[in-house]
Symmetry: C2
Subunit: 504 residues, 2 copies
């Protein structure tokens, strides 16, 4: 199959992206000779652009030329002025959605939820904590549970000790504290924990067990308070005893064939490059469309990577309430950033920029490709749980390790993580499928990347074909037939909560 | 020795604290019969107090009576109105300090600093990280270093992998980000790491290795970037190889007899009760006075637990610059809390209140007892390094697990942690001596509490006697002759950074 040298995504585009390093003098496309070396993933001008002229990618203005640009020239971040962010009032909504592609599978094998909610994809012992003070003891006990108890319960697939930096020394009544509180409360009911509740607290923390747990769960059988134990050895012994009781019950869980409407997954990108928006994200978007068509639920997130294309997301909202909530979440974040004396230009990261992403507008247009084409049925505040099924915007920070816990709290049981530069990211409570935007990354990190979307750029495959393959991999991972790399190795990031409230 | 039933700290006090549970009808003191049950550590009125009258403890007003209080009655949090916080302008400074008690020891056995700075108390391999993304891989590699490499280097006492939630997805140019940046940068030079630098980064993060490390340290021999490695196995192998080179060099370090002027310790309290201010904190204050007298440096912290007694700290400042800096740090925190729509009343915690601390004023008067009586020579912003020796106020949050990393970054090599309710707190990079405020806690947590200050309340000992014993324990722990409980068990909290900047 013919390999492209550049990739142009929309007929209006006056720049295209180098599929590989292009040498000065090389013909990038008919009539477009590179005027200088263009690094892989960076942009080359397809036409002359006057000073102040629009630079167009994804069919949208990603910036204005600060100086005249000649055809064949490198269009890098320093050459562009950032456009203003889209206004948030009166955004049109309810645009008719194109028909979704038909999913080739309608079921997966998961752990059904007793209450009729979303099913689990793993059978895990979750160990919740009320406060960071207990983290040291819980981590030591967790190591012993893994080594001494887990081998005796073959149907339990792992443990997830949920230690965090919240719970004390925090302004727990501040408006911003509602987010970390909700995150921790919702994690207690995560489908992968099978309805078993096990929590470790200290005993004097503002976030006491009664705040973390529902009244029916806050029982002696579910809660250990370290201040009530007779020292360190007794604490560890108490945690092991409770873990064993929970493991006995969890060990009886079995997978069942379930409709995909019982699956909720999350999408996230991190360490993005200019290929992310052309390969990994649209491939994930196609897979998401298939999952939504089969009745499933998909969350996408990352407010600062939606803000500059919010009007495109608003159009897809199914009703006015959904559109209004979208605007409200964006406004909250605008204010939050302003409170810290920064704005949206703090994103992209230096790595994104080296990867060819010139500014937040370009990054955003590539980032929202992960949301596919389905109508957007709901917008959630960070860590809220959805009440509708389908494509949902869960408004979380873009930070990988903060978005992940927020999506987990919303109830995802699997995450698809698209990366261009590469990150060894993982979650303790749900499997993560890592998708590379370039084949070079898959070749370099063979034992960490689970799916390569690179062939979408080189002409080796197409977005629908790769999207369907990713959809099938999602179903296999959700069904426990495949364990992604991070899960196999046991790599996972810390549970970093989003806490906009002050530390005291 | 006679056991007291109540403890009154100052001749002006019109309330005293119950040393044990007092039953209604019992004679608490001559002429003071308990009108109802008074729980241990709670306050009993020694005189009738009219509505609106001053309630006095530590010789200071801790609140105003909301209703008339009768002699012998329980004075609990609901009976008190909070006074206004002291004004911050024109606070008197430079009050003459009483002579310090003479230290019985002048030296300890530490690891000298090549640059002439403070000495180390431990010989540790510090593994620094630029970003949370690498935490999963670093933690797995650390486990292998502990198991496979460390036993071959008997003079190295441990490793400290410094993973954290900063580095990406953060507004790194926001004014508030200066604090976590400074914290991480200063930790690189922590005396316990012996001048060896080992850092693991990802490769695309805003906090890149060049920002974390000084130019002379940012070398191939000191930095591993995961994006440059060929997958997971290669990453772990690279970390192990670098660790081995560093361990070889660290293994040559030896303790030497050094003057106590080369020792810098930190003081902190957590899970406080009403005894903390009468036993553990003044005992630590006495030990601190001895250490300062011997030329050492002592940091105390916790802005929200100094704010209400700031005028008492200001008086002890040695110069106007020091007093001004104190006021400036307090103003910063007032504004910070206001920005989150809360105020100082978010402290104390429910556990503090159950422990008899009615409000932040009472907690503060007890908290500052840990600073002893020495002149205050300097005031530091969070994670700043001192340039003077002696008693220093390091303005950090009061949150245990946030204060600890800030003090470590300031350079403490040992922490004394006073607790009333009990917490299994520990730090990876420096030993922590845990001091109980009540003997009951020492009896319950025999394997976690290192020093019992309880006898200061019951008449079993005195503050000077206990203070000298604690001073000797500090010297023994600093010299490696004693390993406190948390160190023996390997319990430590996460490196929770203070980051007032937004997440993006």
């Amino acid at each position: 199959m013919k390999k492209h040298l550049i990739l142009r995504l929309h007929e209006r585009d006056n720049v295209a992206v180098a599929v590989r390093d292009i040498a000065g003098g090389e013909m990038a496309a008919p009539g477009v000779n590179a005027l200088r070396d263009i690094p892989q993933a960076h942009k080359i001008a397809l036409k002359d652009i006057p000073e102040g002229g629009e630079v167009i990618r994804y069919g949208a203005v990603i910036g204005y030329a600060l100086a005249p640009v000649r055809r064949g020239d490198w269009v890098h971040e320093a050459a562009l002025r950032l456009p203003d962010p889209p206004a948030l009032h009166d955004m049109p909504w309810g645009q008719a959605a194109p028909p979704l592609p038909r999913a080739p599978l309608r079921t997966f094998e998961g752990y059904p939820d007793a209450g009729g909610g979303y099913a689990g994809t793993r059978n895990l012992l979750g160990i919740h904590t009320t406060v960071q003070c207990v983290a040291g003891v819980v981590n030591m006990a967790a190591e012993r549970i893994r080594r001494e108890l887990l081998p005796r319960y073959p149907h339990v697939e792992g443990i997830a000790p949920l230690t965090h930096a919240f719970g004390c020394g925090v302004a727990i009544d501040a408006p911003g504290a509602a987010i970390p509180l909700r995150t921790l409360r919702h994690l207690v009911h995560h489908p992968n924990f099978g309805g078993e509740v096990m929590a470790v607290g200290l005993g004097c923390e503002p976030l006491h067990a009664g705040l973390l747990l529902d009244a029916r769960d806050n029982t002696q059988g579910n809660v250990i308070l370290l201040q009530q134990e007779a020292g360190f050895d007794a604490m560890v012994a108490a945690i092991l005893r409770m873990a064993e009781r929970k493991l006995e019950r969890l060990n009886r869980r079995r997978r069942q064939v379930l409709p995909l409407s019982q699956l909720m997954i999350g999408l996230q990108c991190g360490g993005s490059d200019a290929f992310s928006g052309m390969t990994a994200n649209p491939v994930a978007g196609y897979a998401a469309d298939l999952l939504v068509e089969a009745g499933g639920t998909v969350l996408f997130s990352e407010v600062t990577e939606v803000r500059d294309a919010v009007h495109l997301i608003a159009r897809r909202c199914v009703d006015e309430a959904c559109r209004d909530r979208l605007a409200q979440e964006m406004r909250w974040y605008d204010d939050y950033l302003r409170g810290g004396q920064v704005d949206r230009s703090v994103n992209p990261s230096p790595g994104n920029r080296e990867g060819g992403l010139s500014n937040i507008v370009e990054k955003t247009l590539g980032a929202i490709a992960k949301s596919g084409t389905a109508p957007i049925v709901q917008v959630l505040s960070p860590a809220e749980r959805p009440t509708r099924r389908g494509m949902i915007f869960a408004a979380t920070p873009a930070s990988d390790f903060v978005c992940g816990p927020c999506q987990l709290a919303s109830g995802i049981t699997l995450q698809v993580f698209m990366t261009g530069r590469g990150t060894p990211y993982g979650l303790a409570a749900a499997p993560v499928i890592k998708v590379s935007s370039r084949t070079e990354l898959k070749e370099q990190w063979g034992d960490l990347i689970d799916f390569d979307a690179g062939p979408a750029a080189t002409g080796g495959s197409t977005i629908p074909r790769l999207g369907e393959a990713l959809f099938r991999q999602i179903v296999d991972v959700a069904s426990g037939r495949i364990r992604p790399a991070a899960e196999r190795y046991g790599i996972h990031n810390d549970l970093c909560l989003f806490n906009p409230a002050p530390i005291t």
